[in-house]
């Protein structure tokens, strides 16, 4: 259920791409994605999985509207990607934690809270969600990689976004934390938010409601994790991925 705007027509996917083409590095750059069709269902945790360099970050940048040279159709929450009305409804976590190293955790959150005009109670709530309350007074420069990543995630949660776009949010976290964060993602989806989560670590696949396997800018497969295993007659996501790659090659 959307919290900032009326719910789009039922069945409207959170993200819908048709004939999507993305060029990185400017006009004389590289075609990273060409002719991509995909649907990200709403109110689900959708994993965007694939090897490094496959185009995950480029696709997510296009979805949140910060990537130039994007052509084709790309609709987000029923609006064209980059539409100013979307800016309040999307929470984005970049691959490298985008936090101000010389500010404390709370100061980082407070800044974005002021921009979004949400109160201190939201700051406290998201700090609890990502289990960072005990570090809120610490300067970000003095945090571990995982703690920085969680600070960055907390910032994205501040505005209670309808769509969360998370670029490898759990990389470098210990197993317990990873499990807790995936539980948080599912809580958010149960509350109506749509999540698009990228990862190059295949064993995160089973934690998603639905998978999009992206390789060299092309959609290798999509579906529920169980279906993909069944279809490829494999037992792990990694094996399924390899089977799909070999399928595509033959």
């Amino acid at each position: 259920m959307g919290r900032h705007a009326p719910v789009a027509a039922p069945g409207t996917p959170a993200v819908r791409a048709r004939g999507l083409r993305i060029v990185r590095g400017g006009r004389r750059g590289v075609v990273v994605v060409d002719g991509l069709d995909l649907d990200v269902p709403a109110a689900r945790v959708v994993g965007l999985l694939g090897p490094s360099g496959g185009g995950k970050t480029s696709l997510l940048r296009a979805v949140v509207g910060v990537q130039s040279d994007v052509t084709g159709t790309l609709d987000v929450l029923g609006l064209p990607a980059g539409d100013p009305r979307l800016r309040r409804r999307i929470g984005y976590v970049t691959q490298a934690p985008s936090v101000y190293a010389d500010l404390t955790v709370r100061e980082n959150l407070r800044y974005v809270a002021e921009v979004l005009r949400v109160g201190e109670d939201r700051v406290t709530a998201v700090l609890r969600d990502v289990d960072l309350r005990h570090l809120s007074g610490r300067t970000v420069a003095a945090l571990s990689g995982g703690e920085r990543a969680r600070t960055s995630l907390a910032i994205a949660l501040l505005g209670e976004p309808d769509l969360l776009v998370l670029d490898e949010p759990t990389v470098g976290l210990d197993p317990v934390l990873r499990r807790d964060l995936w539980a948080l993602f599912h809580d958010l989806a149960a509350g109506g938010a749509s999540l698009l989560v990228s990862s190059h670590v295949m064993d995160e696949a089973e934690r998603c409601d639905r998978l999009l396997l992206l390789r060299q800018g092309r959609l290798l497969a999509e579906g529920a994790p169980g279906d993909l295993l069944e279809r490829t007659r494999t037992t792990t996501a990694e094996a399924a991925f390899l089977a799909l790659v070999e399928d595509g090659a033959s």
């Binding site: 910060v66 974005v112 921009v115």
Partner: protein, 240 residues
């Protein structure tokens, strides 16, 4: 939306960085102190002090601003900011206000030091000297914001200083009065913002009042506005 959240964030960052703060406030005083010592017993500090008061803020604030904003572009924080509802002008103006306040602090400390410790005796309006020095600080920040859009690396950002500021310093009329320059250089000099700040300070040192230099001060203000518009336009939501 307003620029103030960004202003607060930048000021908090500078506030945490005591070493930078000390360098910003103390270093110019040390350099001017050396000048005063070297020329003690002459009227050099009285005649050139005001002009130097305007030069430090413009150079220092240009460097500080262009490096700080470039770091923001590279760290991903700007990318996330641009995905959100913040207005581009608010980010640029937020930065400008924050560094203008820092620059104003620097100009005030430096003026107080030159008057109280070095015994600078300004023939014209001392309040005018402070005001133009602050304007120069804001100018340095605004130019730094515009220049940081062109630079891709911190190394390039630092190189922008000689590129943008050195020609202005050479042609500002410090070394040769403007009306004695070759016609072409005089015309170029008139198109450069620092020329007007320097001119105002020279006139104030020679006994002018604040009212006498309002034309030159207005020109500096116009350049500040122009540089801020340029900085906003060059800040792109979508990047390659």
């Amino acid at each position: 939306m307003s620029p103030l959240p960004t202003t607060g964030r930048v000021l908090r960052k500078v506030g945490h960085d005591h070493r930078t703060l000390a360098i910003l406030l103390v270093l110019p005083c040390v350099v001017l102190g050396l000048v005063g010592w070297m020329f003690s017993g002459t009227d050099v500090v009285d005649r050139f002090g005001p002009v130097l008061l305007g030069l430090f803020p413009v150079i220092v604030m240009f460097l500080v601003t262009s490096v700080a904003t470039l770091r923001e572009r590279q760290s991903g924080t700007l990318e996330r900011l641009m995905a959100g509802p913040v207005r581009r002008g608010d980010v640029v103006v937020g930065y400008a206000i924050a560094f203008a306040l820092v620059g104003a602090g620097q100009a005030l400390v430096l003026t107080a030091f030159t008057v109280l410790v070095l015994g600078m005796d300004v023939a014209g309006d001392l309040g005018g000297v402070v005001l133009v020095a602050v304007l120069d600080a804001v100018l340095g920040t605004a130019l730094g914001l515009a220049a940081s859009a062109v630079a891709r690396t911190e190394f390039q950002a630092v190189q922008m200083m000689p590129l943008v500021l050195f020609p202005q310093l050479v042609l500002a009329g410090l070394f040769l009065p403007r009306d004695q320059m070759p016609a072409v250089l005089e015309a170029v000099s008139r198109a450069m913002p620092l020329t007007y700040g320097t001119q105002a300070l020279q006139e104030l040192a020679a006994g002018a009042s604040l009212g006498d230099v309002r034309g030159a001060a207005g020109a500096v203000l116009a350049f500040i506005a122009g540089a801020l518009v340029l900085g906003t336009l060059s800040l792109r939501r979508r990047t390659p």
